[in-house]
Symmetry: C3
Subunit: 256 residues, 3 copies
Amino acid sequence: MAIVTLLTDSGTSDHYVAAIKARIISINQAVRIEDITHDIKPGDLAHAAFVIRAVFRDFPMQTVHLVGVDAVGNKGDALIALQLEDHFFVGCDNGLFGLISDQPHAQVVELNSLNTITTTFPERDIFAPAAVKLASGIPITSLGKQMPTFRKMIDRQIKATKKQITGSIIRVDGMGNLITNISKRVFDILSEGKNYTIAFGGEKFRRFHAQYHQAEQGECFIIFNSLGLLEIGIYKGNAAELLGLDYDGVVNIIFD
Amino acid sequence: MAIVTLLTDSGTSDHYVAAIKARIISINQAVRIEDITHDIKPGDLAHAAFVIRAVFRDFPMQTVHLVGVDAVGNKGDALIALQLEDHFFVGCDNGLFGLISDQPHAQVVELNSLNTITTTFPERDIFAPAAVKLASGIPITSLGKQMPTFRKMIDRQIKATKKQITGSIIRVDGMGNLITNISKRVFDILSEGKNYTIAFGGEKFRRFHAQYHQAEQGECFIIFNSLGLLEIGIYKGNAAELLGLDYDGVVNIIFD
Amino acid sequence: MAIVTLLTDSGTSDHYVAAIKARIISINQAVRIEDITHDIKPGDLAHAAFVIRAVFRDFPMQTVHLVGVDAVGNKGDALIALQLEDHFFVGCDNGLFGLISDQPHAQVVELNSLNTITTTFPERDIFAPAAVKLASGIPITSLGKQMPTFRKMIDRQIKATKKQITGSIIRVDGMGNLITNISKRVFDILSEGKNYTIAFGGEKFRRFHAQYHQAEQGECFIIFNSLGLLEIGIYKGNAAELLGLDYDGVVNIIFD
């Protein structure tokens, strides 16, 4: 089945999202549309990239992900379709797509390069028709001129040595949990045979939890979450508020 | 395929919207349901009318639009089904439907006039079954007594002379952009061969932009948007907040 | 058709809900997914129970309701599937399911008891696959070990005598209407042949309305709503704010 997901910063109180869906349905009523979220803060590429990166692989291969975040971009940003890890992405080449995967892409094409139309609403007028074509099995290379590559923003990286891992908070989720860029994979390699201290804010801990509910109510939990990333929270509380930590805050793991 | 869209002021934290969908599915599981929005402020007819007017034509013809905004209306308001521009609308005759099109309607019938039921939840108990019938191809005239017409509220109109167009802000969207009732069509006719100044708040501009990103970050853009309406915004900013303008604010175009 | 509804406290700004949907679709693309709401305050069992109880019977029988509210629960809470009133429920045995029906259940089984997996995201990794199986017609007893019963929280009950009914507000809806636990059924029995006064906050009333719009704008209405429960509101106003009443507030009906 043809599946198109939608991720936008358009909110839910206007006609914009419905207009994108209406266009898709008008072209091909057999497409299944699934919302990822429309509650990205306008232009917040880091939030959008985190969400799409966290979930796109859960969808079947060949799913088309229409990304309408900062959709008009800056002057000169191309509108593109991208094939990556056997998924398709359609959106503005504003840097976001460089943040969602470390794998090399299979194809990237410039939309609106063959029969150019002018519009202030590319999500509806350019992305939606392109997404339907891809979902219907039309080859990506027929959608526009091939480009050698696309814009790659550099994500905030961890600093890792034998003595210490320094990471940062890359997402405060809706429950106030703090998700960092420290992966279980890196931790497992560097921590082998060592004791360690996890430090953030004024807090220090010497162990991870396997489950949220291993912490007592109101106490900190530190887990590797379902994305394999170090996550800090307060069981049945809001960690961001209670610990005073926010996006970009620092988390250290010190080995001894 | 049978399509029913939903537009309500019921919000998303209660059972109301799900109850409407459940009723539709229980009657006919083949109906495709698409949300337009449920984030209309309770009873805000102007907001609801703007959204449905902006998007209904993007859906395939024969789509049924269930409008549950101020759904019980005032004493004496009929519950109606309406055929207009080859789309169907179901809702309360509270004035809203008079705002969505300038075209004459094809049919209007009073629901709940043949086998009357009493309910405090007409969206679920009256609108949903009627919407399914229309989506399934049952003639609108079989749904209730024909009415000669329906209530027409008068929208705020522009004042247009050879010297000046005075319009107003009819919608502040979720990003803070200010959408006015000044259409490109009217502007093109009146501005032919003239210079012009666009004035609002304390600001004056002498040109339109073709694209949002033709403005610098933090600067005003003035475009005719995807609805063909004059729209004012701040590129990567919130125009309503930064310009101190809100719904019903005045925008002038002065010719010289 | 196989239908799975989703009710979570995950909000709509993260990847969590999309991840649940993606898992369902990846297992069986023929499943129809319907959102009930994701705007439950984290861990608010009373809110979640009210919503699911209010709407589940509107869906076709055999519908599967995936409830991801307080999904990890407390230490020792089982993850369960439940057959009740010819509907299926999947979620954590944290007490919520004891609040949704007074009928005896047909079956309850412990998920993740046969081939145990470890996860911090049971909504996606355990509930979604179980929901798809149930929606596809696989017998509930094949999903896990049968349990004799599940946790029953006790809801706040009314106190009813021949002289008075004392109830409480069990839900303030998104429009500020106050929904109580006083049912029309109980009221009809106890009030037969008597006069009565409805008292709450400083207000007293001696009659019910049949419709919201029987009250004047800004005035109180008191109706038995579409759930058959006593509901207090302000016509075109916010009763919670204007009357200063909130969840758990007391409403009395005094007979004389």
